[in-house]
Structure formats: structure tokens, C-alpha cells
Amino acid sequence: MIAQAMIELKNAVKRFGANAVLNGVNLRIYKGEITSLIGKSGVGKSVLLKHIIGLFEPDSGELLYQGKDVRAMKRDEKRALKRKFSYMFQESALFDFLTVFENIALPLQERTSLGEAEIHRRVHDKMHQLDLYKIDDNYPSQLSGGMKKRVALARALVTDPEIVLFDEPTTGLDPVRKSAVLSMISDYQKRFGFTGVIVSHEIPDIFFISQRVAMIDSGRIVFEGTPEEIQKAANPVVQNFIKGLESPHDDLTGVASQSLGHKRLQQEMSRLQRHQISFSIILLSVDNLEDVDRIAGHVASQTVLKNFANHVKQNLYITDTCFRYDMNKILVILPDTNADQARMFCEKLSRNLETSALFEAPGTQAELCYSVSAGIAQAEKDSRLESLLEDAKSRQNIFYECSI
């Protein structure tokens, strides 16, 4: 049985003049999942997002919320529905006559009966999590583009909404802040379980945090599925788009990208099968990245990850490779190495790792613990790639721990 979608667009058509921007869009968004919408610029991703929140109405077709047609809803029902949503605009759309604090506080002031102290607390809570300090009384025109984005994000999340629609939340941010925003979205989503829809060009980073991906092209959804499925999709339009956007390096850490890493893994596999040259992999995962997020903030945690990846990179031989396997995981491939040698490599890595090098991030006063675990697996002649990765995941042991 297919689960009922929380939001469903059926055959939505929207024309602006003679130009059909949406030409029969069918899209399902499930509760508690992050769905990312990808596609070329100007194919109607933002328009689609605006249909979901009701800023646009489709010329024909239906918008269903939990199976119920939104158009048939009564006025009160529609308002109640609207209150569950939050929207982050592409151009931020901050109120230019209000200060940063007033901008973020506005939805709370207008929609809730919270006291001033409580509003103050919640607004500052969000501002600190997004690394926004000492700009309470600034006006949006005094902020940089990246700051505006983060203020807009804080405004969208301050009401703890059930459904959040993000229109390019990370465009124009530097790699650390971009990853911080994405990890924050993912972290919030895990904690509060909201349903998210993200329009983004950040491939493959966006795949780390989303459960579903939909690609829109020529007014239709050409692909809908999980991030793993889209990377294997046969559709040439989808493949061209993904490959075109993917850079060989991961933006944040500077290590190889996911697809490049997987390619390398396959090469090593075939080398093993042909020449019996075995290799090992080490899956390094920063276990408590989320704790670091909560204590020191998302920017600090991403900086730590970046510094850690740098350190790993410096310890590699020229034939070794490492790549970003997941949000908090780095996979190291050591050709011509057995498990014991890999273990030695790990020891060397942890010996050389200095705490000070990791925590150059500013603003981390709080006490926190930082631990990395490593799972080592050696490829045998008859082992398969999937089981090898599973092996590495299941054998994770803490190999490095520090607290400050």
C-alpha cells in the first residue's frame, strides 16, 4: 500500500500568457520527509513552490492536502492550513522597514499571544543557532546577502512550522555557511519532524539531507524518487543535469565528491578482481556532530568537519583517496593495503591530530566532546561493494576522542 501523501499536486497547469510554466505537474510530498526540487533555472521550481503555499492557484488541476482538495476547503480550514506553513523566499523578502529582530519576531507577534520576554528568547535562540550576532537593530539593507538569507531562514523557522518550503536557501553562501544551513535544516527536521520542500541547485549536498528528490523539466516532473535512485536513473535529462552540476570536489571539505569516490571504489574493485590487489576502506564518521551543532552552533560544527577532513587529506599517500560519503562521514580508500595496515594508518591519524587544529572555530566557549569513529573493512576477492560498505559501517569503533 502506498502511504497517503501529505501534499499532492495533481495535473497542475499554470500559464503566464502563452507560456505554460507548469504543464501537468504531479508531485507527492510525504509527511516528515525532506523533498528537494531540482531542475534548471527558470523551469518553474519557485512557481511550483508558490502553488503549494497558495500564493498562486493552478489554472487547472488540483492541490490536495491529506487527500482533501484545498479549493473545496472552508475559509477557516484554509487559514488553519496556512498557519502550518512557512516559506523562505529566494530573495529573502525581509521587511525593509523593520530591524532584523523585528523581522524575525513578526510572525510570533502577529500570530501568537506569547509574551515579550518569550518572543525575545525564541528570536535570539534562532539567531544564535544561525550565527547571527549583534545585528538586532540593523536593517536588512545593511546586511550582506548571506546574512539576509540566514535572517530569512530564522524567520521561517521561528514559529516551529509543520511544513517549511525553502526557495534556494543556500544560494550565495560560502561553503561553510552553506553546509551549516543545510545541516541545520536537516537537524531541525530530525528534531521537530517538519515536512520540508527545498528548491536547490546544491548537488550533491542536497542529497545528503533529503529523503526524496523530484526533478522538474519542461513543466513536468521527470523524476521522483530517493537520492540513491536519482543517481542511478536512466533518464538522460536527469543524468545530464546531475553530472553537469556536480563538481569533482566537495565544496565544504575539499575532498573528492561522492560520485568521484564511488567511481574510484569501483575501479579498486575491478583491480582486485583482475590482479588480486586487495584494498581497505576506512569509514570515518564524526559521531556527535549534532551535539556540536547544538552546543557550539552549526557553523562551528561544519568548520570542525572541514578541518578534520583537511587533516585526513594531509595524512594520505598520493595513491589514497578520501571522499565525502555522507553529511558526517568521510570514506578513505587505501589501495594495496590490508586491514592491519589500515589500522596503523588510523593510529597515525589520531596521533597526529591536534585538538587545537580542529577547534579554530570562533565562538566555541562551551564544553563539548568530539568523537570520531572508524570502521575498517578489507576487500576480499569475492566481496561485493555493498557488503564491504556495510562491513565498514558495522565495525565502527571510536578511534579518536577529545573534549574541550
Partner: protein, 266 residues
């Protein structure tokens, strides 16, 4: 056949124009109505109301005093030489005060506020529209008309009569400056004529006009800004068009409404 079509097109064109004009009129009225009703809905938006009072009222005081003084001075001059021909310069007080209170006060105040505040309102709201700030309000389930328009309507309804009164008083002193100080009309005669020639009904007429003008000006200026995105021109051009149209249309409408009101109230 072609002949029939060419005959029909100007007629149908005119028809379309008329229909769209009536449609616009209806939309403007509903726009005002919604804004007006939300003034009284709880919770009252006191701080926004105060801000608008400051912007529409307080910041216009200087300009109103200046124009009021010169209008009164001109009326004093013109009135003096006109009355000199019939030999009754003693009636100058009435000749200055009556047209000021009944006509020039409300009309010129409205036009000065359009120039100062109305154009700013249209531009401000127009920019909010094109930068999606109004959409942002809607996504937060905040009624943009209540949030943006209601405080402006309320503030204008309060400020216009007060500014008009200020204009009248300053104007009467302006007339005194030219009439009595420069040209030698007896000051006590001037002021007693002001007092005796003005009835309460004249003052009421002036105030009714200023209240109606307040509603007209704010509604037209905000409406032009609010629907900036519906224009054929986008972006900055759309905003500039909105501002121009706000000023021109509200000035013209003020003069038309003034005539209509005068003929009803007289």
C-alpha cells in the same frame, strides 16, 4: 464584413475601457472598505498607527504652514485690491477666511499631503510588492491590507482635518500680514470680520471635505502601490509608474470630489 468589424472595434474598445474602469472602481472601493473595517478589529495596531500619524501628520506640518502662510498672503493681497475697487477693504477678513476654510484649506492640504506622503506611500508599498514582502506577509497568514493599509487610513483620517485646521489658521494670519501689516487694514476690523463672516456650517463643510479627501488620497495612493505587480511594466519602472499615477489620479480626483461635495453641501 471588414467594414462591420472596423465599425465594431472602436465601440467594443470603448466598452472594454468602461467595463475595466468600473471594475477598478469596485476594486478600489472594496480595498478601502477592507482597510477601514480592519482599523477597528482587535488587537488594535496602535504603534503602527502612531508611526503613520508621525509620517503623514507630523512630518507635513512645516510644508502645510509654509503653503498656508503664502496662500493666505496671496488671498490678502488679491482680496485687498479687489475690495479696493468697490471701496470695502474693511471686509478683507471675510474675503480671506471664507475661501480658505471652505475650499483652499482642505484642497491644498490634500494636495500637499499627496505630494509629500501619498507618493511615498505608493512607492513604499510598490517596492514591498515587487520585492515579495507582501507575499511574505501572506505566507505568514498576516493580512497585508490590515498590516499595511489600515494604519495609513486611520492616520490619514485623523491627520487631514488637523492639518487642514492648521492650514486655515496660518492662512488667516498670512492674510493679516499682507492686509493689515503691509497694506494698512485695521487689524481689529480684520479679525472681527473673520469672526463674523464664518459660521459653524462653513467649518463643518471644510472638515467633511478633509475627511473625504483623506479617504480618497490614501486609498488611491495605496491601491496604486499595492497592485504594482499587475502592471505591464515590471520592477523599478512599475514602481515609478505607480507613484506617478498615484499622484496624478489622486490630485484630479480631489478636485472632482471637491466640486461634487461643494455642490451638495452648499
Amino acid at each position: 464584413m471588414d467594414f462591420l468589424v472596423s465599425l465594431k472595434s472602436p465601440v467594443s474598445g470603448l466598452g472594454r475601457q468602461v467595463i475595466s474602469f468600473i471594475g477598478d472602481l469596485g476594486r478600489i472601493f472594496l480595498f478601502f472598505f477592507e482597510g477601514f473595517v480592519h482599523i477597528f478589529k482587535l488587537p488594535l495596531q496602535i504603534s503602527k498607527f502612531k508611526q503613520q500619524i508621525y509620517f503623514i501628520g507630523m512630518k507635513s506640518v512645516f510644508v502645510i504652514c509654509l503653503t498656508g502662510a503664502f496662500t493666505g498672503m496671496v488671498l490678502g493681497l488679491q482680496g485687498y485690491y479687489a475690495l479696493l475697487r468697490v471701496g470695502s477693504t474693511g471686509a478683507l477678513g471675510g474675503a480671506v477666511a471664507l475661501p480658505l476654510i471652505r475650499e483652499m484649506g482642505p484642497v491644498l492640504t490634500a494636495i500637499m499631503v499627496i505630494a509629500r506622503g501619498g507618493s511615498a506611500m505608493a512607492a513604499e508599498i510598490g517596492i514591498m510588492r515587487i520585492s515579495e514582502q507582501i507575499d511574505a506577509l501572506e505566507t505568514m497568514d498576516i493580512n497585508p491590507i490590515r498590516f499595511l493599509i489600515s494604519p495609513r487610513i486611520a492616520a490619514a483620517l485623523v491627520c487631514f482635518p488637523l492639518l487642514t485646521a492648521l492650514f486655515d489658521v496660518v492662512g488667516i494670519f498670512g492674510g493679516y500680514l499682507t492686509g493689515s501689516v503691509m497694506l494698512g487694514v485695521n487689524p481689529s476690523l480684520y479679525f472681527s470680520r473673520v469672526e463674523s463672516s464664518i459660521h459653524m456650517s462653513d467649518v463643518t463643510e471644510g472638515f467633511i471635505k478633509s475627511i473625504v479627501f483623506a479617504a480618497v488620497v490614501v486609498t488611491i495612493c495605496c491601491f496604486q502601490g499595492y497592485y504594482t505587480h499587475m502592471r505591464a511594466e515590471f520592477g523599478a519602472k512599475g514602481v515609478s509608474l505607480s507613484t506617478t499615477r498615484a499622484v496624478v489620479i489622486s490630485c484630479v480626483v480631489i478636485l472632482i470630489v471637491d466640486y461634487v461635495l461643494t455642490s451638495i453641501l452648499l
